[in-house]
Amino acid sequence: MTGTVAYAYAVARDPDGSLEEALGGLPGVADAPVRLVRTGGRGDVVVAVSQVPERDFEEGALRAHLEDLDWLEGVARAHHRVIEALAARTTVLPLRLATVYLDEERVRLMLEERLAAFADRLSALDAHVEWGVKLYVEAPAEAAPQAGAPEPDLSPGRAYLRRRGAQRHAREDAYRDAEEAARRIDAAVRPYAVDRVQHRPQQGELARGPGENVVNDAYLVSQEHAESFRADVLRAAEGLPGVRVEVTGPWAPYSFATPTEAEPLRRAAQ
């Protein structure tokens, strides 16, 4: 037993064999160097791997680690660092977090087995980027007091009800605006979007406000349209108070690594 296992980050294309050198010295998960696994022959499809401590990735340990947000974050950022370094140079198929093999030979066998499918997907994703598009509703927490003179003839109870009514209307307006923004985004992306995946709206303590995330989509866009896509999407919320659009990326095509079904729209795993 070696005490290490092979952590696989991504499948990538290495057309001229220079990729491993280009990654030189990049620390991966557990600060281990990143190596490339190749098939025999002159295959230009490779898998990026690192040796990681087996004790951290065996079943029980992994279950526990995945519940530890600090550990999860460390691995996620290291994984992403490697994906980014690869994506800066070539087409990449990211693998899901914590994909682990006993050793590099096992990774090589997996690559040989799936070579054709990987090559197809790499070709489909060549020169494409992923953009994240998030829509937030910033419903007013407290309706601003009505402008103008206070109404002394209102009883406290009726004044309260009136304030609540104003709040409810402000919230309804914000959601209506969000729907309008979503419609505009749909129209804006139509010329560019090759594919779309809908992720679960973000919530919980890591969700960055302000506001409530109501749309969390990923789009696959060709490199040449990347900047136009971003600019057009960001314009979608103009003039809509209470709605914020955020674009993240460009990302490696994480959300599109698996070929999509025939239907043009997929939901991310729920």
Binding site: E59, L95, R96, L97, V100, H199, A218, V247, W251, Y254
Partner: protein
């Protein structure tokens, strides 16, 4: 050039210190990416990573929440059954 995957620039964030929001990264690493079985006794494909991430993100990991795999929305039980 902007770091790929970075959050949109905000005036109050110095550029070099900007970091990708973890939640955006986890969306992609836990529900995106190619799923391969791997060699783990319990493969990553069998683990409901989205559930794990939900627990990590929604339930604060703390002394009050020990124990593996409680459901995210544990129903309140009323055992006072007299």
């Amino acid at each position: 050039m902007r770091a790929a995957g970075g959050p949109p620039a905000r005036a109050d964030e110095p550029l070099p210190d900007r970091q990708i929001a973890l939640i955006d990264l986890l969306d992609r690493l836990l529900s995106g990416g190619v799923v391969l079985t791997g060699d783990l006794v319990l493969s990553i494909a069998d683990i409901d990573l989205v559930r794990i991430s939900l627990r990590a993100l929604i339930v604060s990991i703390s002394e009050q929440n020990p124990g593996p795999w409680p459901s995210v929305t544990a129903a309140l039980r009323d055992d006072d059954d007299r």
